[in-house]
């Protein structure tokens, strides 16, 4: 009996030990490598940087591989890919944890949010001389928070209206290709309707391709808030609702009531809704992916990043890019995925140096050139003639003339999520005023915290 008792106890101890060892082993695996070690090959120390990246975005595998080569293998990377729509969720969980990343590849308008929470490392001590004069003002503004620079921007971006010239020609439509001849949304919708084939709402050829931005469903702030903002007017008096509509948030980034739900915004949201519903619908709520590339759509709202895939796919139709339509004031959102270092990184120098390296000089140029993404450095822009010719030149001039940051606030994650939801509901048929008012009700307490 006694004998048995001990043997059983030994066994249960064994179980616990096994568990403990398992736990220990896995925590060792999870632990980050310790502080930089120096060796003969790496006099400045070697580093393995953990990267949290939005899938298929910067820093790209090529950028990191180049950097590893450049540093003689002293800096290597360990990448975690997260779908774009989940990126903010992951940052909130990871940034405070023991295995926080060293490098973030995030969406530029989140800078104020992350910087205010102490997630990002200020880069001012690492900035190359003259950088501030070389970079686009839009990037500098959005990449800074309270006077400090947190990210340098690898690229800039703007939306354009791609068109399938074969289809628009068939429909007898002439599409404008310069900013001063840009369509209003009414004109654009008429053209889309004219070009569309099949029943509105369920066409065989879409007037406007179902969105591929954000999560691939209607509502992303990046594209769809533009309808509302373009109904405003920045030249109107600063207490007018036209002015507030254009900015969609108070200058201190804390108020949305009376900015997001103005009469102008509600009316514009009604127009936005008509693109999805009724007999003037030109696009679809749950559309087929890649409709434009497959030649199943006349128009597609997308950023400059589609130029290269269109060239690569050698599509069977002619295509071009028109400036973004607008309601009253032309506007495009600036900002794209960018790279920054973590404030909590144990390898802060190595992380910051990598950020500077991919954001400047030859590396930036190579990235912009290969991927057809708009340069954010004037010096790079000058060296790359393709950005001075159509179709890319159109995006660049939109950026310069019409570019506005997405509503700047330290609560951008919440703003973006709730406004996207409201716009999605409007596209799906919800009452525009109710939805915008509800978004304001939900946002106000969060933003004043």
């Amino acid at each position: 009996m006694y004998n048995n008792f001990t043997s059983r106890r030994r066994r249960s101890r064994l179980i616990l030990t096994t568990l403990a060892i398992g736990a220990l082993a896995s925590s060792v695996v999870a632990c980050s490598p310790s502080a930089p070690e120096t060796s003969a090959n790496c006099p400045d120390g070697s580093a393995k940087l953990k990267v949290l990246r939005s899938t298929t975005n910067v820093p790209t595998d090529a950028q990191m591989a180049d950097y590893t080569t450049k540093t003689n293998g002293c800096v290597t990377f360990d990448v975690t890919d997260v779908p774009f729509g989940q990126y903010a969720d992951k940052v909130s969980v990871l940034s405070s944890s023991a295995n926080a990343p060293d490098i973030y590849g995030y969406d530029l308008p989140e800078t104020a949010n992350y910087a205010s929470k102490g997630v990002l490392l200020p880069l001012d001590d690492y900035l190359p001389e003259g950088w501030k004069d070389d970079v686009l003002p839009a990037t500098l503004t959005e990449g800074s928070y309270e006077g400090k620079v947190y990210t340098m921007g690898v690229q800039q971006d703007a939306l354009g209206l791609y068109y399938n010239k074969t289809l628009t020609d068939q429909a007898g439509i002439t599409v404008p290709t310069t900013l001063d001849t840009a369509w209003t949304w009414e004109q654009a919708r008429d053209a889309m309707l004219k070009c569309q084939q099949g029943t509105p709402g369920n066409p065989t050829i879409y007037g406007l391709a179902p969105t591929q931005l954000g999560s691939g469903t209607p509502g992303p702030v990046y594209s769809d808030l533009l309808y509302l903002r373009s109904a405003g007017d920045p030249k109107a008096p600063s207490d007018s609702s036209a002015y507030k509509t254009f900015y969609a948030i108070s200058p201190d980034g804390k108020e949305v009531d009376g900015w997001l739900n103005t009469p102008e915004a509600v009316e514009a949201a009604g127009f936005y809704q008509s693109l999805y519903n009724g007999d003037k619908a030109v696009t679809s709520k749950t559309g087929r992916p890649n409709a434009f590339l497959d030649g199943k759509a006349c128009f597609d709202m997308f950023h400059a990043g589609q130029v290269q895939p269109l060239k690569d796919a050698q599509v069977s139709f002619d295509w071009g890019v028109a400036p973004m339509p607008y309601i009253k004031t032309p506007i495009v959102h600036t900002g794209a995925i960018t790279v920054a270092a973590s404030a909590k990184s144990k390898q802060a120098d190595a992380a910051a140096e990598f950020v500077v390296a991919v954001s400047t000089g030859a590396a930036a140029k190579e990235y912009n050139q290969k991927n057809g993404r708009l340069p954010t450095l004037n010096s790079v822009y000058k060296e790359l003639p393709e950005f001075q010719e159509p179709p890319l030149s159109l995006f660049y001039s939109e950026l310069e003339k019409w570019g506005q940051p997405r509503p700047p606030t330290t609560h951008f994650s919440q703003y973006s999520q709730i406004v996207e939801n409201a716009l999605k509901n409007i596209a799906y048929g919800g009452d525009p005023k109710d939805e915008l008012d509800q978004a304001v009700t939900k946002l106000s307490p969060l933003m004043s915290r």
């Binding site: 925590s27 939005s54 992916p289």
Partner: protein, 309 residues
């Protein structure tokens, strides 16, 4: 046999009391009625089969098509919708080569194996104590355990994440499995089958000088082995299909589980490629499907009990 297996849903014809049997209606039968009944039955059976099997068929087949041919084959609807005319392994190749789904499958398998082994050890030991050893407070202990049965795991993700982080286990495979190894459901299942083993067996063994561990190991466990298989299948199933907790607990690509990988390929924030997503969903389903088809008789009693809280 044990209670659990004896209560297994009978598969034999003419089952039970024949409730709802269709025999007596035909008392005043004429041949056409019978014929109509047979046709009606066949139609209903086929309709049910189609409702449940066709979606799977469409999923598997579409995983072998390119996105554009999925769309081309579906409008208009035809037999082509359900047949891969031009089979492509592009989707599978992309899944395994570029997206590391092989790794995700392996991770899911490792977590499930860990959960199965650990909970088997924990639950059999505990079930033995609760059924074979008379001690004061036995019912109280069982109540404490059963109470956790009512806790929806979904409500606990935030504090569990806090806990896992405090133990420096975040983003490890252990973290995905370990919170569930003390499974109240598993214990409940085993307690039932342990109870069904006659006490006389223990007593005989005790007379032979066996202690508790020997009785546990060489008397009880061999008797309930069929139920242990059911137990293993249940834990494997729950572990393999879990989603919310793995989604929260795992951050890195290399530790991703297959269900999370599938969900991420559709949404939110990823542009759906239908062919790829179908292929991913198929890959995540097939292992369990095979297991189920071959071991159905062992699965069903366990599942039927998973509701008996």
């Amino acid at each position: 046999m044990t209670q659990l297996t004896s209560q297994r849903v009978s598969d034999d014809a003419g089952a039970g009391g024949g409730a709802g049997g269709n025999g007596d209606k035909t008392g005043r039968s004429r041949v056409p009625t019978r014929l109509w009944q047979r046709i009606w039955t066949t139609v209903v059976v086929i309709a049910i089969l189609m409702a449940f099997v066709l979606p799977y068929e469409w999923m598997f087949v579409s995983g072998l098509k390119s996105q554009s041919s999925i769309f081309a084959d579906i409008s208009p609807l035809s037999w082509k919708t359900f047949v891969p005319l031009a089979v492509t392994f592009e989707n599978l190749e992309e899944l395994f080569v570029d997206r590391g789904v092989g790794r995700a499958l392996l991770n899911s398998f490792l977590v499930a194996a860990f959960q199965v082994v650990a909970s088997l050890i924990l639950c059999t030991l505990a079930a033995y104590a609760l059924t074979r050893i008379a001690f004061k407070g036995r019912n109280a202990v069982f109540a404490v355990i059963l109470a956790t049965f009512m806790l929806p795991a979904e409500a606990l993700v935030v504090p569990l994440y806090q806990l896992i982080s405090a133990m420096s286990l975040q983003d490890t495979l252990i973290a995905v499995g370990v919170p569930w190894i003390a499974s109240a459901f598993g214990l409940f299942l085993l307690r039932q089958s342990f109870e069904a083993v006659p006490l006389e067996l223990d007593e005989a063994a005790k007379l032979d000088g066996a202690g508790h561990f020997r009785i546990f190991w060489s008397v009880i466990l061999p008797v309930v082995r069929v139920d242990l298989v059911t137990f293993v299948l249940m834990i494997f199933l729950f572990s393999w299909n879990a989603f919310l907790w793995p989604l929260v607990a795992i951050q890195s690509t290399e530790n991703t589980l297959v269900q999370v990988a599938v969900a991420q390929s559709v949404s939110p924030g990823a542009l759906p490629n239908w062919g790829l997503t179908f292929a991913g969903a198929s890959v995540a389903t097939i292992p369990l499907l095979i297991l189920f088809i071959f071991l159905q008789r062992l699965f069903i009693p366990g599942l039927a009990r998973s509701g008996l809280k």
